[in-house]
Symmetry: C2
């Protein structure tokens, strides 16, 4: 397995596009330098190669199963969890005083991409623990932090998010798990949770469930939901793990992919009392949880990007070495077969993958960079703007990588042909694993409603306005980089400096038009929402999400292309020049092959197409 992401591409994003080196100057990261950042990433690369990749397939083939009421995973899983914890990655961004590394999110994300790409199912135990730990760090009491957070960050306890129930998945408002107040300030938890990833395991001493439940007498709906820490085993004041706490495994769910992470049904308080500790204020649990869900959503995008990237790199290597057939026009069957990368249709499938996976990683890293700005930028306006951009980008960062990477992985499979469909090769597992990403942490349909129904509207559209302005700035920067326009007549993509400049000018024009289209479409839908019933105004939200996603990805590609064109115009040669030409060509592909779809999408949205809305149940 090649290293994923490619070191050259990661360097490019971190230091040429996202100016990550600047983060080392911030007080929170004062211990770091670019060299130290790179050392962290090297550690992740090594961890992925040594502790995750080797059992990726084994953890799929020998999925967790129940023996005598306990969940058995292959031993490599616990060893890998230990190694990830020991390397500090569970606590990567946490305070040093809690045992954390105080890394910027951008660097932590770059590191985690390697773990996701190598073996997402095993990595998930650590990632879920980090997610739960972040929530306690943000909202927990000092006592909760001492009892639960510290051991989680050290990898002694694992963590879960326990939101969904058999009849409340997308609709959290309807969850029924109950919390009954006890005299000592704790709560008795009763109810059933479902789809809880990592909900049962033996890879660490204890499991800390973060559970949404309704306190007796709470109001119905989302305003009556509270958040609780519910450990599998009770923890005493001195941190010792004691008796079990009435959380019983109801069963394992067997998934198509991501098999190595247990997916569980958990019964709380069914066999013996189950104690929960309130986190934050009563009835404000969903707000707390959303803090973690936004991180989790960006994490879903990161996982999709990583898996897509892994499939791309594998199929690229395969296409370079596998020989099959001859080019059209070659009639002599005694001539040697060509490496399949020589076939234009194979290059098409590779270029589609490249344009998707490299942008997906960029999108994920951009979100992490914005989290860093939100948390540690010196300038208040920078922090505020980062927060706004994150609001509007999160539904796209959650949904687009998984969705687009599934198509990319499918292309990787197609390049391998029958080998791609065979379990003896790694692509089919990536295809199965990644398919979960459009489902979990809020289906992509819910992301679409979030984007169109909330994010682009709130604060008078401030977030979208800012995003569009940033896109405009990218257009201006691209034009500036090539001396102000589309001069030049070369049609050669990135083969020459002149070609690079010409390409960039063309792309800048196209992004400007796409931004105008997105703005106009959003405006038309905004006007419609003033007069139409909400369900009607939001009926085509998924199309809007795709329109916005494709436009945002074009924006990212123009950023990358600008850096690449500048370097080529400045006379870069050798391997770096090839790398930059590839970036320009991938940008050309995105703008020429993928972005034009937004034209029909904008037309459909603007005419308020009613086909779906008017479809009657009886007509199916």
């Amino acid at each position: 397995m090649t290293t994923v992401p490619s070191p050259r591409d990661l360097d490019f994003l971190l230091y040429e596009v996202l100016d990550t080196a600047a983060l080392a100057a911030r007080p929170r990261h004062g211990e770091y330098s670019r060299e130290a950042f790179d050392a962290v990433i090297d550690t992740a690369r090594q961890l992925a190669a040594d502790h995750l990749a080797p059992h990726q397939k084994a953890n799929d083939e020998h999925e967790p199963h129940v023996v005598d009421g306990k969940v058995v995973t292959i031993p490599e899983v616990a060893r890998a969890f230990r190694a990830v914890a020991d390397a500090g990655f569970i606590a990567a961004t946490h305070d040093a005083e809690l045992g954390g590394m105080q890394l910027p999110h951008t660097i932590a994300t770059a590191a985690l991409l390697h773990l996701d790409a190598a073996n997402v199912a095993t990595a998930s135990y650590a990632l879920l623990t980090t997610g739960a730990a972040n929530l306690i760090a943000a909202h927990g009491s000092d006592d909760q932090k001492a009892r639960f957070l510290a051991p989680m960050l050290a990898g002694r306890f694992t963590g879960t998010m326990a939101l969904s129930e058999p009849d409340a998945g997308s609709s959290l408002a309807d969850l029924r798990t109950r919390a009954t107040p006890m005299d000592d300030g704790t709560f008795r938890i009763t109810g059933t949770k479902m789809w809880i990833s990592g909900g049962e395991n033996e890879i660490a001493e204890n499991i800390v469930h973060l559970v949404l439940a309704r306190i007796d007498g709470a109001p119905p709906g989302v305003r009556g939901i509270s958040l609780f820490v519910v450990p599998k085993r009770l923890v005493d004041d001195r941190g010792a793990v004691g008796a079990t706490n009435g959380v019983v495994l109801g069963g394992l769910i067997h998934k198509m992919g991501w098999r190595g992470t247990t997916s569980t049904v958990l019964n709380f308080g069914e066999q013996g009392p189950c104690t929960g500790y309130l986190v934050g204020r009563a009835h404000h649990g969903l707000a707390c949880m959303f803090h973690m869900m936004n991180e989790a959503r960006i994490g879903v995008g990161r996982a999709g990007a990583a898996m897509g990237y892994a499939a791309y790199r594998y199929s690229l290597e395969y296409a370079r070495t596998r020989r099959q057939g001859r080019l059209p026009g070659e009639k002599d069957p005694t001539r040697p077969q060509v490496p399949i990368i020589e076939h234009p249709d194979v290059r098409r499938m590779l270029l589609q993958q490249k344009s998707v996976v490299e942008a997906a990683v960029h999108l994920t890293m951009l979100c992490a960079r914005l989290v860093d700005d939100l948390e540690t930028a010196a300038d208040e306006s920078v922090r505020r703007e980062a927060g706004l951009l994150l609001e509007v980008l999160t539904p796209v960062a959650k949904s687009w990588p998984g969705e687009a990477c599934q198509e990319a992985i499918s292309n990787a499979m197609q390049i391998l042909g029958g080998y791609g469909f065979a379990r003896e090769y790694p692509i089919e597992q990536l295809y199965r694993d990644n398919r979960l990403n459009p489902i979990h942490e809020g289906t992509n349909g819910i992301q679409a409603l979030d984007l169109l129904g909330r994010k682009v509207r709130q604060d008078d559209g401030a977030a979208l306005t800012l995003l569009l302005a940033r896109m405009g700035a990218t257009v201006a920067a691209a034009r500036e980089a090539v001396g102000g326009g589309t001069a030049g007549t070369s049609t050669n993509g990135g083969g020459t400096s002149l070609g690079a400049a010409h390409t960039l000018g063309t792309l800048a024009d196209a992004l400007e038009a796409a931004v105008a289209r997105l703005a106009a479409t959003t405006g038309a839908l905004g006007e419609a929402s003033a007069t139409l019933p909400p369900a009607r105004a939001l009926a085509n939200a998924s199309v809007y999400l795709e329109l916005a996603s494709r436009t945002i990805v074009a924006w990212l590609w123009l950023q990358q292309a600008t850096v690449a064109a500048r370097a080529l115009v400045a006379g870069t040669t050798g391997d770096d020049a090839e790398f930059y030409r590839g970036k320009l060509q991938a940008a050309r592909y995105w703008f020429g092959w993928e972005l034009p779809r937004t034209e029909a999408q904008a037309a459909l949205l603007t005419r308020l197409d009613s086909t779906v809305y008017e479809m009657q149940v009886a007509w199916f």
Copy 2:
């Protein structure tokens, strides 16, 4: 599991759209009537329910494995194969004197759709046997027919197609299996074949492999390939099965889906001599095989259509009964949750599925109807035109159903959410199974080259010209059905007669424009191919395949919509009226949501976009 396809939809296609009843008037099918056709389909429905659907999951979970050199399948597989054979379906279209039913291909296809939908992996043993049997029937000697064909049609022997080798998959020109002539007129076969479905099994007495090999001294390339019958066990003059024949299982390949059908590596002549019998003329094997491959390709489309249809019907039932959430604008959390089909985004995913799977079944049935015309139409011009249409439709009928149904099944999975991803529910298996269809029997990339590089060019474009004329006739018929135009101002899709007529007029206009677009694009590419290198002219063939496919599907939908609108205008009421309104709405969906993509595709093709062609290997 609901019946798939739905009986009402199948009746509609057979008798309202494709005029299948007329086939009963042809001499070859003189024993039949519409009632007899329906009885055959009922038999298939029952077979699917009794013998195939019940072990669909078991045959996936307990995939074939090797014990003491023999392949063990779950016992239900052999029983189902026996039941399919006993019902006459292996020999469905064969002559009565050979034990066949002399069914029209249209009815046989309608029957087989049920088997594919219920359990494609088990059904494949029978379907592969039919395919091999058809080849011997067309090209075999009388002796070969007596020895091998008769037992295959009776289900005593199974059959395979043994084309691919480890280093010759897409490129058959490079196959290396050798055939050495013996003094008795037989041949000694030596070599290795790979990906041979059903290549080893114990479900019948014998296996008849149809093997492509190169006779010693044969010319290189495709002109040196011959076809052989190679039985697993030798068969003597009286039909008795005797000694083994040097075909040895090299290993099983473990697939992502379609697991219940063995996929094998077979070694010929490695351990003991292996005798093969030449079929047809020496060095003309590929031409014989193509006869079968065209059938097999349409069969791949049928399987994809059936699987997509199964997922659609399942997710539709689920969406009608599963309650989750409330519509946007409903603020009261104490109101009951709504069935998820009430959510517009769920209806979008159902309508996308409906528009795909019902058209995919139509396309498959249309091809079968054309095979019937090719073989049994009284009028020579009808036969000739059917042959032409089949040529140009086959690459689309092979590729589009599997490709589009994968997206449809993905939508079915998304509707079920986590349940869709769980192996406890049937959708994920369909998602895994169907993904093979874009790969086997010539990858979709090869279909694209076949369409653009050959089918639309040969005979001065006669086939495409005829297809475009048929589309024009459909436009005219649609206009005629509604009294000549787009009069009327209703925007209500199919809710009223007036709305139906208006919709139909709009769709007819859109198809006319799409046909012009396809014609113009084909013309532009034809001109380009005169001057450009072949690899350059064909570089974007996959986009052309998609453009052609989407246009053809629009043509099918206009045919269905015309029948539906006529019925509504004539005053149909009740369930039938709901059914027809659904047809109109699905047509509106296809034209409004899916067809417009062809605009950007036509633009890309017409400008001879060079992004993919110019991408350099070093730039990746």
